[in-house]
Amino acid sequence: MSAVEGLVYGFSVALSPSNLLACLAGVVIGTLVGVLPGIGPVGAMALLLPSTFALDPTTALIMLAGIYYGSMYGGSTTSILVNVPGEAASVVTALDGYQMARRGRAGAALAVSAVGSFVAGTLGVLGLILFATLLAEAALGFGPPEYFALTVMGLAVLSRLSGGSLVKAFLMVGLGLALGSVGMEPISGVSRFTFGSVRLSQGIELVPVAMGLFGIAEILSLAETRGGLPRAMSVRLRELLPTRTEWRRATGPIVRGSILGFLVGLIPGPAAVLSTFLSYTVERRAARHPEEFGKGAIEGVAGPESANNGATAGALVPLLALGIPFAPATAVLLGALVIHGIQPGPLLMTQRPEIFWGVAASMYIGNAILLILNLPLIGLFVSVLRLPQYLLLSLVVLLCLVGTYSVNNSLLDLWVLVIMGGLGYLLRKLGFEPAIVILALVLGPMLEKTFRQTLFMARGDWGLILSRPLTLALLLAGLVIVVVPEFCRASRRWRARRAVAVGP
């Protein structure tokens, strides 16, 4: 199927009433989740995963993807109006967005970030189609060694990019892999680490872990700071229109941010967050008046807000083309595919074209809905923030509990949820990145399977890896990514110490 045929077909799928409704529901929930601090896109997607059981897989994926990119729109709203980022990916937006709001340009900031998100979202879909089709075609020739090397490289990049020290990142990778190894082992069916529990032999589920680490843990952190949020300023519809100068200044950052965001999205790791920081730095360098940054420069809103939407599209590429999630949100999407009995991988595009093209086309529709919804309804979304915190948090707690229970009707899952909630709170306190745990949990079984298949194929002959240049290159790249920065740091420290010793 060519890209044009595919898109036409995709629109015919996405425009069916049920899919349209799912898209609308997804982006509205996503916007709300983005507005509300306390529950992010990953937690919300995990929470709603069970409710998609009854849906057709395409519809389910359209809705969950809508939450994912919809949250990027919502996150900017609170950043600009109340200086409280709803999502990590909107932290940067608050720097200049809130300053703009204080100068009475809140409407312009909101409009520019919505338009920027829309441009980035639509450009991102084009990128997604282009990259995913090429990658999936190339991946048809991949065997277990390539997948193994790709996963190893992904985890290596992830531990480098996720902030914090390498030791802490490795610890999180190990924790996720260990959790993923619980249960019936896939090749010989041996039960591992189950302590004789039948329920545990089915493995530790993604939903309770994700909701614990991202839902309950977040609530525990909020429990520390009692008291409501600052009052949001109100924005009248008339004020939404940016001036011509503002448009002109925002155009470059929007285009640059979209492309930059998409490319960063392809890299494993917290792509959306990272892309906003990168875009902000790029825009400040490129700006004619860099001194305005931090005081309400519209470039500092337009660039990052476009980048985080571009990144969500980019992050979907490895998931839809290879079946490998490299971001926590796409890990939940993978969970949704697996629950519906769909084999993710390079064949997804040819075997289940309605999923790939339907989701891609729905992203166009979703972005258009978001643009239309967001501008006039900003007041409504912000008024959600006026709900008292005790009500919001208690409801989220209850939803997390019942939602988790409803997946398997399992008490064990509830315990996993609570334990992961406590653990996630502690990890955050100690400066660990819990997102890595989710990814390692999902990638673990894949990593083990391909590892053992590779060993089996090699039959003790390491020449196999040498005869596969891509595998070798990926593994070496992973090694370089982990080792070289450490080596540089150590040598710098050594030189500094020597300079002190030799110095006057």
Binding site: S181, I216, A223, S394, F451, F456
Partner: protein, 149 residues
């Protein structure tokens, strides 16, 4: 100075070691014919190595960075965790209709809602609404508890 990082590091090391020991008892197989134990042993080694390094780091960092929450906030956090655990513990016996309002009452109070009539009303309404949504509309068999036996 907070001892939290060091305590956490030692707990990590202990659980990593326990995981590795359990993994070593599984059959590792051979390089040509890898068994179920090979991968967990590799993961266990990664865990033990990185948690040892973490212990070492926290020992060296004398001015511990992570300060605990203020006492009152810390109490609220442990309170929420305790009531969540209690919910899991009592759900199979007392059923959803009793444990859910109980949970909500405690959490609403912890989060600062003082007026008892409002607390009780919210707890009842939220329980009924969630029961209708999940138990009736989505058909989830929420535990009824010992009352029906």
């Amino acid at each position: 100075m907070s001892r939290l990082p060091l305590v956490a590091a030692l707990a990590f090391l202990a659980s990593s070691a326990a995981y590795l020991v359990a993994a070593l008892r599984l059959s590792p197989g051979s390089v040509e014919q890898p068994g179920p134990g090979l991968f967990p042993v590799a993961v266990g080694l990664l865990l033990v190595a990185s948690s040892s390094a973490f212990v070492f780091q926290s020992l060296r960092a004398s001015s511990a960075a992570a300060a605990g929450p203020p006492a009152e906030a810390g109490k609220r956090v442990t309170g929420v965790l305790a009531v969540l655990a209690a919910f899991c513990l009592f759900l199979p016996w007392l059923g959803y209709a009793v444990t859910a309002p109980g949970l909500l009452v405690v959490i609403l109070r912890l989060f600062g809602l003082a007026r008892w009539p409002v607390v009780a009303a919210l707890a009842v309404v939220a329980t009924a609404a969630s029961y209708y949504l999940f138990g009736v509309l989505l058909g989830v068999p929420l535990p009824a508890g010992v009352w029906t036996r």
